[in-house]
Symmetry: C2
Subunit: 280 residues, 2 copies
């Protein structure tokens, strides 16, 4: 991995890296916030943050205001890109914001032309953590969170890999993608028309299958413009109730889908993860 | 003034407004963070934040991570734009980033074509506070801060108007614009070749003239790429020493010119201003 830029922040470091991704078959960029005093002798656990549609590795690091608390807690944060990138990577024919570049949906695509590069599930779950853990002063303790499309990604990845993530959280997640327009378009495009292949990428479906024991925290604004048509957080609650899975869903009056909402509650999510990571 | 957008944040509100500016003779946009529980019966003091080259009202609100502390302290923050805007407003012929649009330098221009619109000193010092204080639940207690070009603006405006601002701070200010390339270009363009007209817009010159009694706090990163050629914070110290003016300059190893630096120390600046505003 190659360092692109480095900024000191809150006594730690914000670094952007590129590397050649084997699973996505392209160059990928990601950002890391490393808290102060993280060394090989004193490695720190990692929170993976998955961003939403149109984002890159930069949005969360610049807008969430998460670094102060991460520095205090001694937690690294890794923010990957939201899709493969590059001139050779397929994009939506009309350049839509919700398919192709910036919209990988954290799935392993099985359909042409996407399957050549869009293997974001394997990238986030395996290749990126392997790279981080081989090259940076971190432990193998991981938590995962994200926003909107990334909230969907965090829930799906956390629920399917409880041995790899100690805690899972989400802001404004696409909670039931088999049942909303964004999900239909993306899952249909990347996975094909057979909806049985979509089920493994729907957090509400996964929650309804069996009791899950990973700690789950979800934040949602009631003034979110996408709440009713795209996000549907009540599907998570209904599914968790069926299987007696513990899940906390906090609904916030007046808050919208923006990073101002994320910033308002990110400290509570970092503390939630820190508790399960043994930091507090 | 007309509301463009509103986001709930940390229990308060982030609002963007436009209004017709009489002094700048164009439509101006600004942002306000209003902390929770600010009402006409419970008005709050205001910190004015002046941004740097290329910025608009959006950069600080999105990237500084200041809202949490402002909400806790009960302080409003107003972030104006960095220049007049619009199709009828003069810009640099080559579209340079350091002259014209996005680069008003917080002066009252006296030279054509700039003087028709570039009256940012009067805008920040008089017109905008008058508007804010007539329309929002704020007191007439004001503090001022800013970054780079805006740090220059905050220092100059604060030093020249101690009856209007209780405290003044700056991040990485252009501390001695009569003596650096950015300053020569902007002051020469807006004010003409007679350098005697520049002196009133140079914080180091103002500091050397007489003892100032307004509290002054300056933050500077030692890894700032503009430190030696453009910023020259030592000129502030030398001038303050001559006139026995109290000024705190904090130099930070490893920090650069970015918003990551501002975010790292903004809470301390808000607390500094809150102390002088009677909030703590």
């Amino acid at each position: 991995m190659e360092l692109i830029s480095e900024n000191r922040a809150f006594g730690g470091r914000h670094c952007r890296y590129t590397h050649q991704s084997a699973v996505n078959n392209c160059k990928m960029t990601f950002a890391v916030y490393m808290p102060p005093f993280a060394t090989e002798e004193n490695p720190v656990p990692v929170l993976y943050w998955l961003s939403g549609l149109t984002c890159t590795d930069e949005n969360f690091m610049q807008k969430a205001g998460a670094m102060k608390m991460a520095a205090e807690l001694g937690m690294a944060i890794v923010a990957p890109d939201t899709s493969p990138r590059g001139d050779d990577v397929a994009d939506d024919a009309e350049g839509a914001y919700d398919m192709g570049l910036g919209a990988g949906f954290y799935v392993n695509a099985t359909q042409a032309p996407w399957k050549a590069n869009y293997q974001m599930y394997d990238y986030i779950t395996q290749e990126l953590p392997d790279l981080i853990e081989a090259n940076l002063p971190v432990t193998r303790e991981r938590a995962i969170s994200g926003h909107s499309m990334g909230g969907h990604g965090a829930l799906v990845i956390g629920l399917r890999n409880p041995e790899r993530y100690v805690s899972v959280s989400a802001f404004s997640p696409i909670a039931n993608p088999t049942n909303c327009p964004w999900g239909h378009k993306a899952l249909g495009g990347y996975l094909g028309d057979d909806q049985s292949a979509w089920q493994q990428y729907d957090a509400s479906v996964l929650l309804a299958e069996k009791t899950h024991y990973v700690p789950l925290l979800v934040e949602q604004g009631r003034a979110d413009q996408f709440l009713t048509e795209q996000l549907k957080p009540e599907a998570l609650l209904n599914a968790a109730q069926k299987t007696d899975t513990q899940l906390t869903l906090n609904m916030h009056e007046g808050y919208d889908h923006s990073y101002f909402f994320i910033a308002s509650f990110i400290d509570e999510h970092l503390q939630f993860h820190a508790g399960h990571l043994g930091l507090i």
